[in-house]
């Protein structure tokens, strides 16, 4: 049995980690959070030149033809570094949909430019303040164009194009819309975690290219695939927060000793470790299921998602607590991780949704031994 990433994958992970360290990604997160820019263009360019946007794209479409296992280790590092870049939107969401569902012409037109970072894509799916269902989608596709309103689109004002879910005569389809075309208007939002940009986007007869008529099936599959990748970001962030807490505790003295000697603190950090290990092991299984497109993917994805969301929440909130008053300041980095943990928990569906998905998938499957 070899339930571990390969040496090459671990080396790649280390390289990405070094790059993000060297580029001071956490500092860059703060700059984006505080500044006017919607993402860090320099950091994005560094990631692109390392080939990270090309990982899952086959060589025939200008990519490097690696697999999801490589993308998982990259995701973990981006999460650890809370990188302020539109990577998840462009790579986990837009690229995956085009790879899995677009026709050859579209692939030839879009994938090489996604691989080279020349263009950035995203997904516009949510409409209201609830998790979308097939019945709740009101945006329509008719005669080659899209009309409707999409809410909190991640990286909506950064992306060059988006894939939109919309009603057609007999169901929900997915359509590609150039965000610079006529009939598109964007409104940038103030959000809980401004290190990642979000927008509302309105489409008024915006020209659109059909990707698939079975959009709902495609979205469900995409949610499972991306849940694994987001979960890796979440455990990366969780581990960073746990490490911050541990390091701070060791250097902080109160009542004549290091606060790391107080069990209330030690046991808190041991609990973070437990939550993190459980989540990490579930992520590994998710990575296996994703890279093998296994029948277990729905269960594996939901399990990874639920436990990683929990772990990041736990680690990021107790990291603030461990820092005392320092943790409450804008100046300390604790809140950057806390904000990111909430953002990642919100972006592809809440805990309630994913717990329900998990039990639904277990009801359908025979329980693994």
């Amino acid at each position: 049995m070899n339930f571990e990433f390969s040496d090459e994958q671990l080396i790649m992970k280390e390289e990405v980690r070094k790059l993000l360290d060297k580029e001071n990604s956490v500092k860059r997160n703060r700059n984006i959070l505080e500044g006017e820019e919607s993402f860090d263009k320099d950091l994005w360019d560094s990631l692109v030149s390392m080939g990270l946007t090309a990982i899952t794209i086959p060589e025939e479409f200008g990519g490097i033809g690696m697999g999801y296992l490589e993308l998982c280790v990259v995701a973990e590092e981006l999460g650890r570094a809370i990188a302020p870049v539109p990577f998840s939107s462009s790579v986990y969401l837009a690229t995956t949909l085009i790879l899995d569902h677009a026709n050859k012409d579209l692939k030839e037109s879009y994938l090489p430019r996604l691989a080279s970072g020349e263009i950035i894509g995203t997904l516009a799916h949510t409409e209201k303040s609830t998790h979308p269902t097939p019945d709740s989608i009101e945006t329509t596709y008719d005669g080659g164009s899209i009309t409707g309103n999409k809410a909190v689109v991640p990286d909506g004002d950064i992306a060059d194009f988006t894939i939109v879910s919309a009603k057609h005569d007999s169901g929900i389809g997915l359509y590609l819309v150039d965000l610079n075309s006529s009939g598109v208007s964007k409104e940038t939002l103030e959000t809980f975690d401004p290190s990642r940009s979000h927008s509302n986007i309105s489409f008024d007869k915006a020209p659109a290219i059909e990707i698939t008529k079975d959009g709902w099936g495609a979205i469900e599959k995409l949610m499972d695939q991306s849940a694994v990748l987001f979960a890796f970001e979440q455990i990366g962030g969780a581990e960073a927060a746990m490490t911050m807490a541990k390091d701070y505790a060791q250097g902080r003295f109160a009542f004549g000793r290091s606060i790391a000697q107080f069990q209330a603190i030690k046991h808190k950090i041991a609990d973070m470790y437990i939550a993190l290990q459980l989540a990490k092991s579930n992520c590994y299984f998710g990575a296996w299921a994703l890279s093998n497109d296994a029948a277990e993917l729905p269960t594996a994805a939901a399990t990874a998602r639920v436990s990683s969301t929990k772990a990041f929440y736990e680690c990021s909130k107790e990291n603030i607590q461990t820092h005392g008053g320092m943790g409450a300041t804008w100046e300390f980095d604790c809140h950057l991780f806390y904000r990111r943990s909430r953002l990642l928990a919100a972006n592809i569906g809440s805990q309630g949704i994913w717990k329900d998905k998990l039990i639904t998938s277990l009801e359908k499957s025979n329980l693994p031994a």
Partner: protein
Amino acid sequence: MDFNDTPEEANFRKEVSDWLKENVKKIPEAEDTSENSSLARARAWMQIKHESGWACLHWPKEYGGRDATAMERVIYSQEESKYRLPNGFYEIGQGMAGPVMMMYATEEQKEKFLPPMANGKEIWCQLFSEPGAGSDLAGIKTKSELDGDTWTVNGQKVWTSGAHYSDYGILITRSDFSAPKHKGLTYFFLDMKSPGIEIRPIKQINGGANFNEVYFNDVKIPDSQRLGEVGEGWGVALTTLMNERLAVGDAGGVDFKEIFEFTKTQDFNGDVAVKNDAVREKLADWYCEYSGLKYTKMRRVSALSKGETPGPEASITKIVSANKMQDIANFGMDLIDSSSIVPDQSFGSALQAGLLGAPLLRIAGGTDEILRNIIAEQVLGMPQDIRPDKGVPFNEIPSGEKN
């Protein structure tokens, strides 16, 4: 990344599963539900295993083992766990006492004591905890004094699992009360039939009486049965406990699968329980823990397969599984509502057993709190608790035995 055996591992697995298929059916039926009857079945099974070389896999062949690798041991236990087998009784002997004897006993003693430990004839117990020393094991007070080449032991041990059916025991004592706490300890093995030993069963909260008080009144132990040097028993004890860590596994009892199946048939508020959102939410949390432990184990096995040694990371298994079992049992009983307190339905009884068994698991072999300390200190490298007893002569350290 895969779950596949290497060709050697696959061969070994096949050998194990073929053997188990043929041999499990040779185990005699239980005569009744008594302890003696389970003991007889466990002995019979150990004997069958031993005859074909499947007992004590990790032990050297010369003492009745198989010289198996850690990975082979894992594969064997994975295959064995597919059956309900009369295991138990031998963890302390084969898992802890055996390895300690191999390190510290004389060649002659090893030849005499290890083979009957391996073939299941002799059972061993662990005489460590005392009324005043459990988590803080080095605080024991059972006294040993040397006269010529014989030691005299006086004192009391407690929570000694299986003392009443054990043939031998491993024992820590204090031979020097004026030395600092960890320096004055001396370690022995002894015959449980020695004159002066008195064993009194203690009834547990779940009604069983598997652990005991063991009194020592002028019990004589030959100096040849000392393991390690005089005053260096703490090191021997730590080696023993390290082996205990390798042995601890999942809490046996109600787990995710059982409660999940149950919620599919149990009514709750007008529908089957599994359709209720609050129930689904709980199930999802337990599944995440169940699955997290399962794949944590796979990661550990992968490390073993590459030849790495297991570290204290395994401490999370007992904390998570014992607490999960307690919550599942409590929640399951809640679903059965007021009739849950009556032991008349098969699952209701399993839940009751879980609810009364989980507290024991959370204490035995290192409490939840001690395991959290181990994670913080040994895995994460955080400092030890403040220890006012460090370096102080043992007889000057305050101790509070609250009984």
